[in-house]
């Protein structure tokens, strides 16, 4: 997988909510998008995926996905999306879910089925029906499915928030492995400071529909070990630099 810099800017009204957000994602690495509920995190992610249409501009590696004249429909955007609830297609098996996007990918396969299965430990799940999976397993399959669609940009909307502590602990090591292997930009919505500290290279903070400098939304540092605190500090620093 190879990615490119993502530059986006959206300004528009959805009901009583106004989104006015501009951001840049580096060509690789995970950028956390953090903010209180109702701040527009999910709306921004849905704009990037093309699931919501607000006026704005979005380019990925110089390629225009949206501007005044262009609007690529969601199925024409090479994104991988992991939703808050795994949203596996219930009429397909685990293998069927993984194959659904892989079959339709327009880019040549950079992530092979075996790679994804290895990375996320999916081998024992392949033949199962989606109803027979635990919450953590479902999210791992959703993640594998998103990667196999050969995305140039990975979008994750609080993939761990619907999981209990045990399932979170089980899936975090997989996400860390993904983080090390990932060569495309990823946007990761979360308001969990420890999750951000473990996974993110940068932080974008959003409040009332606007991206604010990360430092103003410093997540709680309680309960983090020294290494994680350092990482978070570094991430906040980098985010602060790229936002200016």
């Amino acid at each position: 997988m190879s990615g490119g810099v993502v530059e986006g800017r959206f300004a528009g009204q959805l009901g009583d909510f106004r989104l006015e957000a501009a951001f840049t994602l580096p060509a690789s690495g995970i950028t956390a998008l953090s903010g209180p509920s109702g701040s527009g995190k999910t709306t921004l992610l849905r704009c990037v995926a093309g699931l919501v249409r607000l006026p704005g501009k979005l380019t990925v590696d110089g390629e225009v996905w949206q501007d005044e004249r262009t609007f690529l429909a969601p199925h024409r955007r090479p994104v991988g999306v992991v939703f808050q609830e795994a949203s596996l297609l219930p009429h397909l098996s685990v293998r069927g879910n993984l194959a659904y996007g892989a079959k339709r990918a327009s880019a040549p396969a950079q992530v092979g089925l075996d790679d994804a299965v290895d990375l996320l430990g999916l081998a024992p799940l392949m033949a199962r029906s989606t109803g027979a999976l635990s919450g953590g397993e479902r999210q791992r399959v959703a993640l594998g499915r998103a990667l196999l669609a050969q995305p140039r940009l990975l979008l994750m909307d609080e993939p761990l928030s619907s999981l209990d502590a045990g399932a979170k602990a089980e899936i975090l090591p997989y996400l860390e492995r993904l983080h090390r292997a990932l060569a495309i930009p990823a946007l990761y919505i979360s308001h969990d400071a420890s999750e951000i500290a473990r996974l993110a290279d940068g932080v974008l903070a959003i409040r009332e529909g606007r991206i604010t400098p990360a430092a103003t939304a410093a997540p709680s540092l309680e309960g983090l070990d020294a290494a994680a605190r350092d990482r978070l500090a570094l991430a906040a620093l980098r985010a602060g630099l790229s936002a200016s």
Partner: protein
Amino acid sequence: MGEVVWTTLRLAGLTTVLLLVLATPIAWWLARRRAWWKEVVAAVTTLPIILPPSVLGFYLLIALAPQSPLMAPLHAFGVRTLAFTFEGLVIGSMVYSLPFAVQPIRNAFEAMGPRPMEVAATLRASPLDAFFTVALPLARRGFLTAAILVFAHTIGEFGVVLMIGGGIPGRTEVLSVRIYQLVESLQYGEAHRLAAGVVAFSFLALLGLLLVDRRAHEAVR
């Protein structure tokens, strides 16, 4: 007697197939639109449930008659009227059973929610591709329910088929009409045989429907 059963089954089968094809886009549109006025369309498609069959039959007879503007385009093909024909019966049965097809399919599409179609789109499936590979399989129980209801309801219709079909033996005479005529001419023995068959068939259709529903509930749990 075999002829009457065959006409009835042919009518019910053809009506079911054609109606599922017609009802699917209507149900999809009703399930996905948010505008309030879509309920106007929903009310029109549900109307046949509460209209007396004689009212429905009367208007259908007018619509299928030679003077009807709806028939005018068909005159060029040598078709003057569809009243008292098998084709007319199929059209009438489709109108009569329309709500029984639209409602379960619409419910199934609505129960699915918008998420599966979004997931499919983010996995590069075009809207049409996603409709066939995600929406239709997820709504399959709705289609099964609709098929059973339409088939059984068509077997059970009487007023509409009598008015627009006229009960012409070999062409438009169906079971319910034959039973009526047998009773009128006091042939109770023959009437009994046919009536009992319809009761048994209807029971089996309903039982099948309930079992499908039960499996649907178990799948949700």
